[in-house]
């Protein structure tokens, strides 16, 4: 056991958990959930031990029978392996059925069959039987062959979807190395662990078995016990990376409740981003942000250089309709992963990143993605919210779909709610070469005939004593967007009525193709005056998806990388830019 403080000494601190009421039973270990780490980096380690394994995978994929074989000095084992490879039932899942490209397959274990392994197989006297276990990483399938090495025959083959055999020694060692060499693990423990510190990474004990419940990848959890706590490091052996780490309290029977991918991610997001508002101060901007129950990532109290700009912005709904079938589609809310009304949930933390233009930093972005469990499979969704804040005071509220949905005839209509700060606000539209003030609540569609001023602004928003041009996307934002074709609604703010200040339940149905996207219910039947100077802007882009090769839009496709499926995305980004008028 390494000593404290030899190489690293920082205990990591996650978000500060919000206290539970002492009068109620807590179902969540809030402190440990909040202190967990989700690791989103998909880069494979460049260290020699990992690259050596990757090389073996690549070599195996080039073989006629693309299987990484088990290395052994036991001739019975080798014979059993060779005999199994001759059986077409055993090798039926080696290639992608469409592209015929090889899938990552590996023989995990070969051992003398026990009577219980033989099932209905009738044993012949004087014959030796071996059980050969093949795992397909791409499809998450185990194929088990029973081989009579004496008769040189395969006597039985069974395929088990979603079953993962015991991992072999070299993968156990790989998992432990991935854990102990990770700086997050080191920081969490407060020392650099040795490989022997990880408890039995491949045994079927309660100590370290785990699952990646969402990705359905092969995962194990090297577990490090420190005093009365255990640190779970969840290793994804399909993607060869650390998924995340989390502490549990050790009890008398082991390191507490099992930590899996879903629990780690969901509880971290709930504790740190759903239960509490976070503060972001950067490049002259100040704001708060929180993942809502059903209205996406909400930003609020947004200031630039200490001037109030936005009261709040959020994404109320995604309406998805398919033209092939009348009235078919979904009205999806996005939000927190548990105890929410979200149909597509947050599975990663909000990301803050530098924003570049021509290689020069011009601001920063705040992003949040929401993902269905089986995405990119058909009828599953992946949505992105991106707020852009520029050093010169511009800001953009952008949203996008990463597919893939239920067909190639889909139209996405996200409903964005923007509530400006200030109480002497005005809204003007560029019409007939001049700005015309909107006196009452109304809606308008951006179309081919829409007029824009010389700077490309369709509207002018007055926020107290400042003005912002609203520039919708016409495909000019270098994000592959093809134009918003958006409905804009302006509704008066009423302090005595909740018109979306709190979390909104689903605001409208999936499949209205006209202005009836939900906000109109706050306008009709009698539009109110906007003279009070406080109003909400609802922005509803209309985005048609496309799967035509070379023109993919709001789409996602799977491809093979080192024999396992990865996803290529074709986001369709939409949303307006707000530019301060000097």
């Amino acid at each position: 056991m390494a000593l404290y403080g030899t190489l690293c000494w920082h205990f990591f601190v996650g978000c500060n958990p919000q206290g539970n009421s002492t009068s109620t039973k807590s179902f969540v270990d809030t402190a440990n959930a909040a202190a967990a780490f989700i690791l989103d980096d998909s880069t494979i380690s460049s260290e020699a031990w990992m690259q050596s394994y990757i090389l073996k995978v690549r070599i195996a994929l080039q073989n006629k029978i693309p299987i990484m074989l088990l290395e052994s000095k036991d001739s019975f084992v080798l014979n059993a392996q060779n005999i199994a490879l001759t059986d077409s039932r055993f090798t039926q899942y080696l290639f992608d059925k469409n592209t015929k490209q090889p899938l990552r397959n590996e023989i995990f274990n070969i051992y003398q069959a026990r009577p219980s392994d033989l099932g209905k197989v009738k044993m012949e006297n004087n014959s030796k039987y071996f059980r050969v276990e093949l795992y397909n990483f791409a499809l998450n399938i185990a194929t088990i062959a029973i081989v009579n090495v004496t008769a040189k025959t395969v006597v039985d083959v069974n395929v088990f979807p979603d079953l993962q055999p015991e991992i072999p020694l070299h993968l156990r060692e790989l998992a432990i190395k991935l854990a102990v060499k990770n700086t997050k693990v080191c920081k969490a423990l407060g020392y650099k662990p040795g490989e022997t510190d990880a408890l039995m990474a491949n045994t079927k004990t309660a100590l370290n078995n785990t699952k990646c419940e969402r990705s359905l990848h092969l995962c194990v959890a090297p577990t490090f016990v420190k005093k009365d706590k255990a640190l779970w490091a969840i290793i994804d052996l399909t993607d060869l990376k650390l998924v995340g780490i989390r502490w549990t309290e050790v009890n008398s029977t082991g390191p507490g409740e099992r930590i899996g991918e879903r629990k780690l991610k969901f509880e971290k997001i709930m504790e740190c981003y759903c239960k509490k508002e976070n503060t972001l101060t950067r490049n002259g901007w100040n704001m708060k942000y929180i993942i809502t129950n059903s209205d996406g990532l909400k930003i609020s109290h947004v200031q630039f250089k200490n001037k109030d700009i936005l009261h709040s912005v959020k994404l109320v709904d995604w309406h998805v309709s398919y033209s092939g079938t009348d009235g078919f589609g979904y009205s999806d809310a996005v939000g927190c992963p548990e105890f929410s009304q979200a149909a597509v949930v947050a599975v990663s933390e909000p990301k803050i990143a530098e924003l570049f233009n021509n290689g020069k930093s011009v601001g920063f972005t705040l992003e949040q993605s929401f993902q269905s469990e089986l995405w990119p499979q058909p009828c599953n969704y992946n949505y992105l919210q991106r707020y852009e804040f520029y050093n010169d005071g511009r800001f953009r509220v952008a949203v996008g779909s990463l597919g893939r949905g239920c067909g190639n005839d889909g139209t996405y209509r996200p409903v964005i709610r923007i509530f400006f700060a200030g109480d002497k606000n005005t809204f003007k539209e560029w019409e007939e070469n001049k700005w015309n003030l909107w006196q009452k609540e109304a809606w308008k569609l951006q179309s081919d005939k829409t007029g824009y001023n010389e700077n490309g602004y369709q509207y002018l928003v007055g926020i107290n004593n400042a003005s912002y041009g609203l520039e919708p996307s016409k495909g000019q934002f270098n994000d592959h967007g093809r134009g918003d074709n958006a409905w804009v609604f302006i509704t008066a703010y009423n302090a005595d009525k909740d018109e979306g200040e709190k979390d909104l339940i689903t605001i409208g149905p999936c499949c209205n193709t006209d202005y009836r996207q939900g906000p109109e219910k706050f306008i009709e039947p009698m539009p109110e005056s906007l003279e009070k100077g406080k109003f909400i802007l609802w922005y509803v882009p209309q985005i048609k998806n496309d799967n035509a090769p070379g023109r993919e839009y709001c789409w996602a496709e799977s491809y093979l990388d080192n024999g396992v499926y990865k996803t290529k995305t074709y986001p369709c980004m939409a949303g307006p830019m707000f530019i301060p008028i000097k």
Binding site: K25, R258, R262, T325, A333, C336, Q341, A342, C379
Partner: protein, 303 residues
Amino acid sequence: MRIESIFIVSNFIFWGCNTSIPADEALEIGITDCRIQPPFFVQSRFDLKRSALSTSEKRSTGLLLIEIPKTNGELKRTWQHPTWQLHGNMGPISTDDLGNTYVAPVPTVNTLLNNPEKQNTIFKVDANSGELKAFVKLAMDKPDPTNVFGLLGLQFDCHSGFLLATSVSGSTRNISKGKIYIIDPKNATIHDELNGYDAIGIGTCGITGTKRVYFGLARKSEIWSVEMDKNGKFKGHVQFEISLDLLGPRGDDKARKIRFDAQGNMLVYGVEFNFNLTAPTEKQETLYKFSWNTDENKWDLIP
């Protein structure tokens, strides 16, 4: 075996007398089916041998009678009484010994058709007319926006003639207000209730020699049970029975439905459930089968 004390609301507590069901009688409970096909099925003119009620058909709302196609190429035929889609999307279904069907609303994807304030009502489909009407409106607080669910499980208990129901109405991430109800279908009243358990699937069985109500927790991958006495009341302690942790493709399934086959094996239909409205189009459900191990007094997974 884990034991938790419970709060049982009962009108009477029987002191000094044995209210348990005799073991030889208990052994048949859950195994012997009493339910009959609703007579109104004939209205559909379907082949009744291939017809069943469903609440999970794509692109349809509420309850539906479906006729399973005879051959692969044949289209599935459906029939719906006009009252069956008036209350939004539906979830659990159970039929009684007279052919009456009980069904409860459960929101799917969103709450457009399922007002969260109306998710704690059991509906009854009349055996003869097929008309769906509200049957029992279970009490509920104003729902918290973080939990839009109410009733999640229903099962008619052939032995007692009572209807069992589970509800998570009013529960939040930190507070469990779930209840398990025993309802008398004759007069639509609550016969008994068990407080503080958020559960989904429910079923009764006596294969262990004691009649027990088994229920799948909504927050954990576990099945628990409590004894049901000869008066149709909950009795004694609630106890842990089975963990679904690490089982199946996902490893954290919750028991959506619990049934027993003719041999007394427990059939558990496991799904993902996290108190949200995610709904993969392709239903991700795994069937787990457990047999009662009389030597060790525990349920064993049948691989």
